[in-house]
Amino acid sequence: MRFPRPTFLVFGVLGGVLLLSLVLPIVNLFVQADWAGWMKALQERGAGDALAVSALSSAIAVTIMTVLGVPLGYLLARGRFLFTQICIGLVFLPMVVPDLAGGILLLQTFGPHGTIGGPAAGVGFELTNNLAGIVLAQLFVSAPFVVVSALAAFAGVDPKLEMAAATLGDSQWHVFWRISVPLAWPGIAAGITLAWIRALGEFGATLIVAYNPHTLPVYMWVKFESDGLTGALPVAFLLVLLAGAAVVISTLLSRLSGYRDTAAVLGDTHGRPT
């Protein structure tokens, strides 16, 4: 009989305690479920509206952050500029600013008398307390995920592959679309999925920038304030389901490594123990 390694035994106990404390609250949610009551609560008009608002706003936010964030990630991974390091630091900033503080900063910038919000309101565009405000809050907190994961994914693409394609006569655009993006895609896609779920769960900044229309997390808070646990739990359940789906998708995407296949074809074993 083989005994497990002592390190594994000790780490297993330590890690197990952490894992348990992470998973227990969610298991508890399902154990104490009042399925019939929850289904009824989720059919309320407010819940449906909040789900629609959350789905639409997060879809818009994720599209914008992909279109703007992936190029930035590439630039930061490949470019050799004076300010590359500073830019990377700036991208991380919103990830460490508390949500509520982020909301107030956004309000001062995009509010009806804000630096940008003021002139925008002058020509008839309100940037807070509507869908635009929600999208802004979601962009602020979750776009860094896309940029950082794109940066890491592009940095993991062997520049030799890009150079080889270029010497074979591909244009720069061609190289980007046919070599860099496919190889980096699993990492980028995982980042986009995480950013999406972060956007969907965004609460603190959204509450300040756009209390109305309610997103799912704001709706959950309103229900918690007005009806207590019975009001909040069904919505919490829905958010946990969505988050769970995102984790599964993200894990699947990062496993589908396009890099491995392409690299094998080219006989490259860069960075891989053989």
Binding site: V10, L107, Q108, G114, T128, Y211, V222, S226, L229
Partner: protein, 342 residues
């Protein structure tokens, strides 16, 4: 040394090594565990009073009243701000077990915490102080001079709100008593001034352009994104915002106008109807309090410091008790001789 001997020696050496690191890991795990347990343990000697209070009190409690209590009694204080209704729900759902609960609305005690349906979590409460609604404005607003004129009574306050471009906000009636009290205010103003257009300034009761949670509304007016908002006077005193005082007939601050206030009504989501009533803060010790002696000391302090409360913008009232007076600590009963009736 034979090969087998050497293997045994090696093995022995490795064994000591791994045993040592396993011991180190075990010790570390024990240290972490005991630190966590020490952090959770309720010390019987600890008599810090924990107070769950209505959100609008946050600045007054954290920047003054809590420290004043500690200075007066030598006992430590820790507070938590929640919406009155939300906080009561948390006690009801056993998510919080504060020693003292302060509500911005007497009815919250009755509906969420008292009686058999609420496991009699609260059996009595005392009225602590009154407050009134005011119209606070941002001193840098482009309409600031107009609000100032309204404060000096040279133009009516509602005419400033009617000016094109003025943005004002109010609380959410579904989660915050101040939200529906603001509806009462405008309703009563329409009657008081005989101008039915005043309540129409609000639009829909849930008008998304005006309705915000307490803390967000304050942030909006303080950052200048909104020109004005309806607040409790103690809130704007604590936040140093200029404000327009509204007539006693409509500001819900004077018990003698209770009958006039009662003409205004609002239907809660639960179907229950609430009537306009004087704004009264109540204080109680829930059954689940873990430091009853500290709780009693805190309630005593709050009921016997009217000057201090006035300084924070509250109005002083005769303390009254509702519910089962016999359940109230005898020492506190003396401070609130009257019986409260809604």
């Amino acid at each position: 040394m034979s090969p087998s001997m050497s293997r045994v020696a090696d093995h022995g050496h490795g064994g000591t090594e791994s045993a040592r690191s396993a011991r180190t890991a075990l010790v570390m795990a024990l240290v972490v565990a005991s630190a966590v347990l020490a952090g959770c343990k309720k010390s019987s000697e600890d008599n810090t009073v924990s107070v769950l209070y209505a959100g609008s009190l946050a600045t007054a409690m954290e920047n003054g009243l809590g420290a004043a209590f500690t200075k007066d009694t030598g006992q430590a204080y820790k507070g938590e701000a929640q919406g009155s209704l939300g906080g009561a729900r948390m006690i009801h759902d056993h998510l919080r077990t504060p020693d003292v609960f302060i509500s911005a609305d007497p009815t919250v005690n009755e509906t969420v915490l008292m009686g058999d349906k609420n496991q009699n979590l609260v059996s009595w409460y005392a009225t602590m102080a009154s407050s009134q609604l005011v119209l606070a404005y941002n001193p840098k607003s482009q309409f600031a001079d107009k609000f100032q004129a309204a404060a000096a009574n040279t133009i009516p306050w509602y005419e400033v709100l009617q000016m094109p471009g003025v943005r004002f906000g109010r609380g959410d009636p579904t989660i915050d008593p101040k939200g529906y009290r603001t509806l009462f205010l405008f309703d009563l103003a329409g009657k008081h001034y005989q101008k039915p257009e005043i309540p129409r300034l609000l639009g829909d009761t849930m008008n998304p352009a005006q309705v915000f949670p307490e803390i967000v509304l304050l942030a909006r007016v303080e950052t200048g994104q909104f020109d004005a908002g309806i607040f409790y006077r103690h809130e704007v005193v604590a936040h140093h915002l200029p404000y327009v005082t509204l007539p006693p007939e409509i500001n819900l601050g004077y018990p003698k106008f209770a009958e006039f206030y009662a003409q205004a009504t609002y239907k809660l989501a639960s179907g229950e109807q609430v009537k306009g009533a004087p704004i009264i803060f109540t204080i109680t010790i829930p059954k689940t309090a873990s430091h009853p002696a500290a709780a009693e000391a805190f309630v005593r302090f709050m009921l016997s410091s009217p000057k201090l409360l006035e300084g924070f913008g509250f109005g002083t009232i005769e303390h009254q008790v509702a519910g089962d007076r016999a359940q109230m600590p005898a020492d506190l009963r003396r401070l609130a001789p009257e019986t409260y009736r809604q």
